[in-house]
Subunit: 245 residues, 2 copies
Amino acid sequence: MDDQRVGRDVGVDLAAVARLLADGTRAAFCLALLDGRAWTAGELARYAGVTQSTATSHLNLLVGGGLLADERHGRHRYLRIADRRVFELIEGLAELAPRQPVRPRSLTVATRQQALLDARLCYDHLAGAVALEIKDAMVERGLLVWDTGQPAAAALTDRGAAWLADVGIVLPASRRPPVRACLDWTERRTHLAGAVGGALCGHALAAGWVTRVGTTRALRVTPLGRQALHDHLGLPIVSSATRGR
Amino acid sequence: MDDQRVGRDVGVDLAAVARLLADGTRAAFCLALLDGRAWTAGELARYAGVTQSTATSHLNLLVGGGLLADERHGRHRYLRIADRRVFELIEGLAELAPRQPVRPRSLTVATRQQALLDARLCYDHLAGAVALEIKDAMVERGLLVWDTGQPAAAALTDRGAAWLADVGIVLPASRRPPVRACLDWTERRTHLAGAVGGALCGHALAAGWVTRVGTTRALRVTPLGRQALHDHLGLPIVSSATRGR
DNA sequence: GGGATGCTTTGACGGCGGTCGAAGCGACAT
DNA sequence: ATGTCGCTTCGACCGCCGTCAAAGCATCCC
């Protein structure tokens, strides 16, 4: 009688994996980690808006389930996506996932979400369509080399260093890699991260090129910023990201 | 304050899709449907060992979420995987899923599961390792052409038709496609389905080549069957599926 | 040493969701 | 017309799991 439940005994526990991603908090963790970097447990907790204790239990599940790998350094716990297969799984889910979940009831919310796609913070650097335009322009002008092979190799050229100085961006002394490729799930492409990405973003905020929208990660490029990006990188005054809307 | 939960507002609701597959019953449905056929709601309910009412609610969720597509014919409701992307998603999950969940506590259960991998029924035809051996042998002998392209094209050759008659297998008159490729998630390869697959399986059961194990889908290949497969297809008497166990 | 800081453990609370049985409804067969 | 079959709806029950606060532990800094 019970034997009729053959569907349960087939030896592949799909639901176990799916359950790991079936929670909003854990999904947020994974989306954040899609940038390929290793985040600390605390960063993830703040990002998802939960307490550290909650984050800990989720992270234990994800690591235990083989979706994430962790590494302890001193009092920090660094998390990253365990595997290329996990990467692809998450992207496959994202492909089928409803966009703009149920939220955009109000126009203001919809606008804010659109802003998120155009320009936003990704940890300490710029992401979204604008970030891609910046990176592409820098590559085109010989400021950056950008080889997205396996593994991705990216670096600042001498000309790029001169450009930074010209713009007035100073790199803080640190052991941090100057240039990193950061994967962007909204655009499915990589943008500029690392020390240069962080410094560039810091400058953009300080100089009023971009301003934060409320307290979210969304950014708005100011007219001043448009002009600056035009002057320094040759970007069009009307960005392709906002063109036609 | 609440706005700090930026991780939730990114506009891609991963968890919603994952939640659909995070239930054992729904996962069983999807695994069953991986064979590419359309099952009725009742078949799926029996397969997973739940009542019809339970199945209905699950199926509504899966269809609503876009993972399954349904089609009504008379009093039947036929379900199938909605999309190639869904196929790939499920396979990606299966790749990461733990095998042999927690169940194999008793030796008899473990043995039964192994039998399920070696030979079993997939609706009306043979699946498992033995089914693959049969298909491969038929291709090698020129009885079958098997092009697993997109879409997969498979057909019986004239020599194949003669072989069927020689063995004593008659195809019932029907509009059913004679040869179909059926995807097998345990082996990650396709085996022989369609009218020929069904007739072959029927003959194998009737002639005592295989017998059912209890009331499950699992099959055991009898010594008589081994001999017959050797005579008709040149398969080794000791199958590669059981060799070394 | 003392005091931050980052993470983990524990315990308690609350809600969501999976389950079934029973009743209802439509399609099909005789 | 009557019965059967396949599916759906409804209502009720129950267990699981995500959440937090508080306390604890380890590490790092001064």
